[in-house]
Amino acid sequence: MMLSTQVLAAAAEVPTGEKWVFFLLAPLALAGALGMIIARNAVHSALWLVLTMLSLGVFYIVQAGPFIGMVQIIVYTGAIMMLFLFVLMLVGRDASDSVIETLRGQKVVAVLLGLGLAGLLGTGVYQATRGMPSAGLELANANGNVQGIAQLLFGRYVYVFEVTSALLITAAVGAMLLAHRERAKGERVGQAAQMRARFEPGNYAGPKPGPGVFANSTSVATPAKLPDGTPAERSISPILPTRELTSAEIANKPTEGK
């Protein structure tokens, strides 16, 4: 086959460092991909995926595409996976997927379909790129990697770039619309209004008295006494069962003459 000889010829030119990076990281990337599928815990799954994405980023950098490599790490690993984690963490730590198949034979079919898709994509790419002359990275990076990408993005492909960004903005606006809740005019209470309401007549602005203040008992079920000797109902937590107080507990604490 022509392709295999080409690949072998190219492999002979690959510098040692690049080879080492590949043989070190390729198994790691694969392990990450497998781990993502196998891990039971959703957060562990996400972490395995992070490993794969990082390895891919390093591959890009090693293959003379430092900009795309860094963007891969910043955008995919730094931002998108972080958002994933954000959601997963809210689900709870112990939420693991159950391994019971809801459809019989689902796993086998999934594996077969996955292999089929990979085969289709592989042959498709192979057919599309067969015999295509490659200009080489030296030419593409002649004026610097970042400058080369910028020239393509904002020169030749500027319309495609703009259309893509319009699509993304539409998606963002759509997400905002879906998540937005229209509030009635008086529904939203600002901080200043809250403070004003706190000092309105009928609302006691100070902290609630603790249970047992001025009382003859240390029990939390004993109401605190106000300065005039009446029990303060606010001082007892509503979840406590009410109980009858003994006369010693009802009596005021003797403070006279002391």
């Binding site: 957060v43 972490l47 990082l54 910043i74 954000f86 963490m89 730590r93 309105e200």
Partner: protein, 458 residues
């Protein structure tokens, strides 16, 4: 900029300082020496910064601060670090063991990695080899710092999650949200620097700030300031603010807000694992300060005007000192903020990031791009002035016609008091005169026995 072929030393044609093409030629032992050098620099800076912070905050609060161990208490943080290492290492029962262990490691490794592209100085002679005083440089060096800070937050988020407890989880969640919001503002503030310097490599950004470019405005010839903090003031301000948010420092230290979340993400951590988080936080501070110095404050360069009375000020090993001084000054600002400002409320903090920093940054980048395009166009000065005037006019018109909120008239205080409903919270009388306490009278009497002249002298 054209990348020179490998094996070819290409100094900056104007200043003779290192450029991107000068990196990647060091022998392996020299790389090792530089790596150890950067490591030692960061660890020493961390130990120093902890002492520095405690002393400066103490000074602001009128107390001495650590002053027992070593001269001026300098060895205090070393003693604290040793103590931390010998403390009991606690693994919570409900913790996710593996993630709990690797979280602080991720934070620390990323913090150290980010510093590898920091330029410390020009060419120096190291063991007989002429080499730039910088570990390495890549075409996208500044993005590396961004990537490392993004990865470093994983340590915090995962540490919070793996602890298996509520407060750390809340701290981790806050940290994730904070990172995503403030990294956008931070990345945008780099854009203006990239546009002006024409490169993302740190050594060349420092070179770009070596000399100011001559500007011809209305027939007046003058030299524009060379350091970007004056040239790109909005970017500098936004970077400084988002750097504080990015490093989880006060007033943006919501992931570890001790009055709300006990200790935040590191509540369950102890011993060396906690020490690693601590180390990572301080290294991150040093990194963002170093990056600020590199991008906006001329890097390792002393001001060019100083060269007239000390020609060698920007050569040899001296720039290492200027760089360190700049970093220490920026660290002082961090500490100053911590000593002065209260913590922000969470919604205010998010609103500030998304609704103020990012839009302002976008408008500023657009303006700068407009200015740069006008400068490059080969059209007469009058026409340029017309374009600029048009833009300013549109902005002014928009500002004038922008719908304004109707402000409620503020009533005088007497009327406000009179309008309060019956049974309102009691107020002191408006004409209240607080009687002088008898104790204060006694004190004044005692003081009066001292001759009046001596009081003036003091």
């Amino acid at each position: 900029m054209i990348l020179a072929p490998i094996g070819f030393l290409a100094e900056d044609p104007v200043t003779g300082d290192p450029t991107l093409a000068d990196f990647g030629h060091d022998p392996w032992w020299l790389v090792l020496v530089k790596v150890v050098g950067v490591f030692v620099f960061l660890v020493v800076m961390t130990l120093f910064t902890i002492w520095y912070e405690r002393r400066v905050v103490a000074r602001m609060q009128v107390r001495p601060g650590p002053n027992r161990h070593g001269p001026f208490g300098l060895l205090q943080s070393l003693a604290d670090g040793l103590k931390l290492a010998f403390k009991e290492d606690i693994m919570p029962l409900k913790a996710d063991k593996v993630v709990f262990f690797i979280a602080p490691v991720i934070s620390t490794v990323c913090a150290f990695t980010a510093f590898s592209i920091m330029p410390f100085g020009p060419f120096v002679s190291m063991f007989g080899t002429r080499t730039p005083l910088q570990l390495t440089d890549i075409p996208v060096a500044v993005l590396l710092v961004l990537a490392c800070s993004g990865m470093g937050i994983y340590g915090i988020v995962l540490g919070g999650w793996a602890s298996g407890s509520t407060y750390p989880l809340l701290g981790g969640l806050r940290s994730a949200a904070q990172l995503v919001s403030y990294e956008v503002a931070m990345g945008l503030s780099f854009v203006a620097v990239f546009m002006t310097a024409g490169t993302m490599s740190t050594s060349e950004i420092v070179n770009a700030q070596a000399q100011g470019s001559p500007v011809n405005l209305f027939g007046f010839e003058f030299t524009a300031p060379s350091w970007f903090f004056l040239l790109l003031l909005p970017s500098f301000i936004i970077y400084s603010i988002s750097a504080v948010g990015e490093t989880n420092r006060a007033p943006f230290d919501l992931p570890e807000a001790e009055s709300e979340l006990v200790g935040g993400f590191h509540t369950e951590y102890s011993s060396l694992k906690f020490a690693l988080f601590f180390l990572a936080e301080y290294i991150n501070m040093v990194t963002v300060s170093g990056l600020c110095a590199t991008l906006f404050l001329g890097g390792w360069r002393a001001p060019t005007s100083f060269e007239s009375f000390w020609p060698g000020i920007n050569s040899g090993w001296w720039p290492l000192l200027w760089f360190t001084i700049k970093v220490l000054l920026l660290l002082f600002v961090f500490i100053w903020l911590r000593g002065t400002l209260p913590r922000l409320r969470y919604d205010q903090f998010m609103r500030f990031g998304w609704k103020v920093l990012i839009p302002v940054n976008l408008v500023w980048i657009l303006t700068l791009a407009g200015i740069k395009t006008l400068q490059k166009q080969n059209i007469p000065a009058q026409e340029k002035l017309i374009y600029a005037g048009l833009a300013v006019g549109v902005i002014l018109l928009l500002a004038l016609l922008w719908p304004q909120k109707k402000e409620e008239p503020v009533l005088p205080i007497e009327e406000q008091v009179a309008r309060r409903p019956e049974g309102s919270f009691p107020l002191p009388p408006m004409d209240l005169q607080v009687p002088v306490s008898p104790r204060a009278n006694r004190l004044t009497a005692e003081r009066e026995t001292v001759p009046a002249t001596s009081e003036e002298e003091v």
